[in-house]
Each structure stands twice: as C-alpha cells, then as structure tokens.
C-alpha cells in the first residue's frame, strides 16, 4: 500500500516531467527566450482561452495565421498540430503550446519578450535584428491581439480578464 501511495505521489511529477520533455522536443528547433522560470507567473487558463485563439485566427486577408507557419510550416514549431477534424487544441496539446510559448517570454522584461517584439512591425518598435519571416503580423502596439498577448506576458489571470 505504501509503495502504491508513493507511486501516486510521484506520478504527477513524472507526468509534468514528460509533458515538459515533450514540449522541449516539439520546440527543439525553436529559439527560446529563457530557460529559467519566468519571474512573472504566466497563467495557463488565460493562455488557453485568450492567447491560443489568436494563433488560429485569420486576422486579415493579408495575414496568414500564426498556426500556418508555427505548427506545420517553415517557422519554428511552437504549436502542436491540431488533431484531424479538430478546430482547437485539447488540454494536453494546450499544455504543450503553453510550455513552448512561455519560452518566448522575457521574465526580466516582459514587454521585450520575443513573442511581442518579433511579429511586431519594425516600424512600430518590432524586431530589427532578425525580421520576422512571417511578416508584420502586428502593425502597431494598438492591435487588440497584440495588447492581449502583452497582458498575458505581464501576468494577467483568466479570472481577472473574465467579463471583459
């Protein structure tokens, strides 16, 4: 019984470790912002409900979805490929996405996070050292989706965003 209890206690640790390993494998070709844990606490529920839909959204006729390049295309593979017939990610896939995308957050200076700066137009303060191969996905910091991502990297919680 004691051995079984011990197994039950350590099983979640293994699951977390395996999830992290899978995330690392998935994002192996993806440049990471930081290997250390972010100073701000990134909220998974906010990510799942507010950030992930941005990755799947065609925001204008001129922009491909983030998903189009970062789940199966030529870009770094931060996102899990959707299961056949699915239009969104399940819990496990969302966890993997969360792990991968969290690595693009600068814990010391969230507003300089790669996820914010890289797809932002260089004319609006975006990356000029290596331009985003996927073009200017956000023309300005006034873009509502860019603002939502900014909220998340600064530590917004799903509960605090409820009702907006």
């Amino acid at each position: 019984m004691r051995a079984r209890n011990l197994l039950l206690q350590i099983a979640p640790v293994f699951i977390v470790a395996l999830t992290s390993f899978a995330a690392a494998q998935t994002a192996s070709s993806a440049p990471t912002q930081s290997a250390s844990a972010p100073a701000v606490s990134l909220d998974f529920d906010f990510f799942k409900t507010r950030i992930q839909p941005i990755f799947l959204k065609r925001r204008s006729p001129d922009h491909a979805r983030c998903y189009a390049c970062h789940a199966s295309g030529t870009g770094p593979q931060y996102l899990v490929k959707l299961s056949p017939g699915s239009s969104s990610w399940n819990e496990e896939q969302s966890r993997t996405n969360f792990e991968n995308v969290s690595n693009l957050v600068n814990p010391d200076d969230p507003m300089k996070s790669r996820i914010l700066i890289h797809p932002l137009s260089p004319m609006a303060g975006g990356d000029t050292t290596v331009l985003h191969g996927g073009g200017r996905q956000f023309e300005s910091k006034d873009d509502p989706d860019w603002k939502t991502i900014a909220e998340w990297v600064k530590g917004a919680k799903a509960s605090s965003a409820a009702g907006r």
Partner: protein, 320 residues
C-alpha cells in the same frame, strides 16, 4: 505578360501586369503560398502552400481550385517541365524527397527519397534534368527526368541555397550556379564533370545591412543567357555578371526598411524572375512588401510595386 508573386506570410498571390507594373489581380485564400508555376499553356497555376501537404492546382482564368493533390510532406519550391507533363515538388520536411505529379491524372506518381530536405528547384532548358538544393544536407542533387531517378550530387561545405542553370544553345545544362549560406557570392559547378569549378564573391566595396534570414536568396540566368543575376540580402542589392565570362557588370540597389530613429535594415530581397525578352527583371523584397521592376539594360529600378505580406517566389507567364 504577367508576373505572379506569392505573398508568403499572407493568403494572396499578386498578379503584376508588366506593361503597367501594377497589380491587376489578387488570387485569394491561398494561405502561406510558397511557390507558383504556370502550366506551359497558361491554363493552370500550380501552387505549393505552407500549412497543407498538397499541390494546389488552379484554373488560371476562373481562379477555381481544380484539385488539391496530396503530396508526401511539407512542400517548398516547385517546377513544371517544359512539356507540361510533370510538376516536381521539393519536400522540405524530414527526411526530404522530390514528389513527381502527373499533370494529366493529377496524381502523385513517384516520391524520390533524398538524404535531406529539399528547398528550391530549377530545370535545364530541355527539361532533361532538375536540380534541387538541400540547405540542411549541404548538397545540390540532380534528377534525371527521363528515368525519374537521382543522377548525381554535388556536396558543399556549407548550406546550399538557391540554384540557377546556364544552358547550352540546345537547352542542355552547361553550368550550375548556386548560392551558399556563408558565401557572399555564388559557386559554379560544371554540369558535365559534376565538379565545383569556382566561387565568385561580390565586390566588397559598400556597407552591409543586417540581412533577414540567409545572406543570399535569389539567383537567375537571363533568358537570353547573357547575364547572371544574384540577389544579396546582406548588400540589399542584385549583382549582375556577364555570361559566359562571369565578369561583374554592375549592381542595382534595392529598397531598405528604415524604422523610426534607427539605421536602415535590409528589405530582404527574396527572389528574381525575368521577362522572356530579357528586358525586365522583377525582384521580390520580403520585408519591404514590394517588388522592384528593374530595367535589365540600364540596371535601374523603374518601379516599386507594393505587395502583400512578405512577397517571395515569383514566376512570369507570357499570356497565351
């Protein structure tokens, strides 16, 4: 005559009329279009796309999808043989392959496995051979299109990028030119001996700009076989060499992007195509969201044509 431009970070293909140098049509709902080639008779457009492992076949006039042909993996560049019989698709997903699509049945008839991922592809003028590069594998591989088998391969000490072929008057391959990831210039391969015979470097007499991606991406021999055009991101220019002697003739500067309060960055020139009369060259500038129309005799930009998001590969179609 039209130039078809893939807006590879978008969902459109822009069609430029070369008489006016203006966009006259937008083909929509093609997400992440990688490469586009017309059929020789101009009736169809073949398109590779980022998120879908298909070759999309469009009716050029109606813009309706004729078929999405399943292919063996994520595609990059494609080519169509001179007789229109085959569409050849580079598979850029590990382990890499060349897919061959029969354009009559619109079925994939063969997948030729390669040792690494393939990126760009060009054909000899007689369509006897196809040459594809593998950046990751650091090689260029030549396929015999009679046997549909690999014929020979040339290895490099760095990533092999965009290839171009100089043909003999009968359309057979004479020399293969190829851009390499750490070479500010291009390598020269003799088609008969299969050996690299020279490396040509660009004149280093002007300031460089931070490139977006690889330092070079875009190479082409003019249809009259008199000049070779090499696009450089790091110099934000296209360098022109005479053929067959490979003498530097001149360069054409391309648009830069200047963020407010910062130094200019490169406009990320991506690709080059020519009009069949060798009068005009068109160069896609990814970061500048434009195509430069260049007078090939005067070596001068005559128009900057606004494009969609990240214009990339292009092809020219002489309308039937």
């Amino acid at each position: 005559m039209h130039v078809y431009v893939t807006n590879l970070a978008g969902t459109t293909i822009s069609v430029v009329d070369v008489d006016t140098n203006k966009v006259v049509q937008q083909i929509k709902d093609i997400e992440v279009p990688e490469s586009i080639q017309p059929s020789p008779d101009g009736s169809r457009l073949y398109i590779t796309q980022g998120p879908e492992n298909v070759l999309t076949v469009l009716d050029r006039k109606t813009q309706k999808v004729i078929k999405k042909v399943p292919i063996s993996g994520h595609a990059n560049d494609l080519a169509v043989t001179k007789d229109g019989k085959y569409a050849l698709v580079c598979i850029s997903e590990t382990p890499g392959a060349l897919d061959i699509i029969d354009t009559t049945t619109l079925e994939r008839i063969k997948t030729i496995p390669t040792k690494n991922r393939l990126h760009d592809i060009v054909l000899t003028g007689d369509s006897r051979y196809a040459v594809a590069d593998s950046p990751q594998g650091k090689f260029a591989i030549v396929f015999d299109l009679k046997t549909l088998e690999p014929a020979w391969q040339v290895d490099f000490d760095q990533e092999a990028l965009v290839p171009a072929i100089e043909n003999n008057p009968d359309g057979s391959g004479r020399r293969l030119y190829i851009q390499l990831s750490r070479l500010l210039g291009f390598a020269v391969v003799d088609f008969e001996t299969h050996k690299e015979v020279a490396r040509i470097t660009f004149p280093n007499d002007e300031p460089k700009v931070p490139p977006s991606g690889t330092p070079s991406h875009g190479l082409g021999v003019s249809p009259d076989r008199k000049t070779l055009w090499a696009v450089s991101r790091i110099y934000d220019a296209v360098f022109v060499y005479s053929l067959p002697d490979l003498k530097f003739i001149g360069r054409v500067h391309l648009p830069q992007v200047t963020p407010p309060g910062q130094n200019p960055v490169g406009g990320s020139p991506n690709w080059i195509t020519f009009t069949p009369d060798s009068k005009m060259a068109y160069i896609a500038n990814g970061a500048d969201r434009s195509v430069s129309a260049v007078d090939m005799t005067a070596l001068k930009v005559v128009a900057r044509i606004p494009m969609g998001e990240e214009p990339g590969r292009m092809s020219t179609l002489l309308l039937p």
